[in-house]
Symmetry: C2
């Protein structure tokens, strides 16, 4: 089938393109390269089933249907990126999502929104279930990304209800793996780059805040299953529920890299959630999916990628 | 000064236009008349300082600057309206707000967003203060309006932070008065129309859910003060903190109208908040404002308007 992937040159998007091309689909990848990188899809460009289109999803889309599926991943994702560009982040979430939904409606395509655990904000319940409404201050310093995604979810549901589009919402928890941008500020890539550069590994605050991390191949499998799950309505949490503290993660990266970098504590970040962990029961039940790659395996593969492909200068 | 009022033919917008024209400003009123009504501003149209432009704020705006102030009120507001048109509601909140902010940024105008107590969703604290992040399910049945407004707030803050626009956010709690659309489903207009028609007054559920209602002249005063309050950042609750149960309100309307309509209980509404009451301390402190019109006075004036101007057929 013919599939549109927006944000297809990003970290997660490029792995999704790999998978869809490998499955024999014709893939049109749209990316404005504001945070995505052409190098992430360079190996796909010679392939017959793959087309790269440089375009901003918030503007009229220079692609023609029909598509059978639209995977809408385009958005600045890392804190570094959306802090620097709140207006663009909001516009992509709203106008970009609207244009992609209009296209899906016009084609009769299935639509999958890549949403985020950030819709839960700084939650007071753990783990988070899909019915938890979240705790997000709409005017807080993180609000551009969080509200952009909450808006995108509401719009996606509205197209499902009002226009009858087959819609799916993936609430993606932290995901990692090769091709994360080295400078995008995500914690795992930071730790790896610092470790490989022989620098101190910087942990914000006391390092006791926890996150859970899903390896990218697991996440791609989940997205493909969700897009194909006809009739599954409403958001589905996708992530690896295993929690780790930032301090433990830093030590693990240093150990797996065979490094001797010290851990350095730096001031906590404003508005940084203390914990974030998905309840993935709904994904397990409806998609028969759960994360399979252990953190040790995933981190080793990721460290290996940065050592070989993007060594720190 | 020259002022733009979007949604200026709506209930609140038309009263704001009245006030601004009376204050000697040149007012451009933009409204697509999807929920606003031309009759609300018909008396202003002959006035030299007033211009009506029929346009949708989600499309390129057919108005030229410069403006010194932009009051952005355009949005479906009543539950009836946004339930029926979730996609348009979301688009107005996002794309309409973005276009108005772009205009304000281009002119160096002060921007005031008419936001809403609905950003708090179904709150678990009473009264609500501006720092309360709210409890809104982004995919719930009321989410189109609530998330549209939360998004508009986030975008407004982003223009303040990233582009230096002087921005103000009014979190408007229930407001009532003449010119509410008789069919828009708001509780006070429903009660008045039913009473004047001699029909039973319908109360949802047990009638113990409370609301607080601000008379429109008080709200207009608050908006004008807020727009002129240089340096007041972040949202400000505007409303009348006096709570009343729906059952008591129904009895009050019947009594003030001199009617003998009975009260009829009908099934509760899905996702209907139990309580909603503003903490208006911030408005009192920063604007020297509080609601002055008693519910008795306001209801009597409103009943009088519907009896004279829009009697039920």
């Amino acid at each position: 089938m013919r599939v549109l992937v927006t944000g297809g040159a990003g970290f997660l998007g490029s792995h999704l393109c790999d998978r869809l091309v490998a499955d024999g689909h014709r893939v049109v990848c749209v990316d404005n390269l504001s945070t995505g990188r052409r190098r992430n899809v360079a190996h796909l460009e010679p392939r017959e089933g793959f087309t790269f289109v440089e375009a901003d999803v918030a503007e009229p889309l220079p692609v023609d249907g029909p598509f059978e599926a639209v995977y809408h991943l385009a958005s600045p994702v890392s804190t570094t990126d959306h802090f620097a560009r709140p207006i663009a982040t909001l516009r992509t979430g709203a106008e970009g999502t609207r244009r992609c939904l209009d296209l899906a409606a016009a084609c009769g395509a299935t639509f999958l929104l890549a949403s985020t655990s950030e819709v839960y904000g700084d939650p007071e319940v753990h783990p988070q279930v899909e019915t938890y409404p979240g705790r997000v201050d709409p005017v807080g310093p993180r609000s551009a990304y969080n509200e952009a995604k909450r808006f995108a979810e509401a719009l996606t549901m509205a197209y499902g209800r009002e226009r009858g589009v087959e819609v799916h919402i993936a609430r993606i928890f932290n995901t990692y793996g090769p091709r994360m941008r080295p400078d995008d500020g995500r914690v795992i890539v930071n730790f790896i780059i610092q470790t490989l550069a022989g620098q101190p590994v910087t942990v914000h605050g006391d390092g006791k805040q926890t996150r859970s991390f899903c390896y990218v191949s697991d996440m791609v499998e989940a997205l493909v299953r969700l897009a194909g799950a006809d009739g599954v309505e409403g958001p589905v949490n996708l992530g690896n529920p295993e929690e780790v503290t930032m301090a433990d993660l830093a030590r693990e990266v240093v150990r797996l890299a065979g490094s001797s970098s010290p851990i350095a504590h730096v001031p906590p970040r404003e508005d940084d959630p203390r914990r974030r962990r998905p309840d993935v029961e709904r994904a397990r039940r409806l998609l028969g999916w759960e994360a399979r790659v252990s953190r040790g395996e995933g981190l080793a593969a990721t460290i290996d990628y940065y050592r070989r492909e993007e060594p720190p200068r």
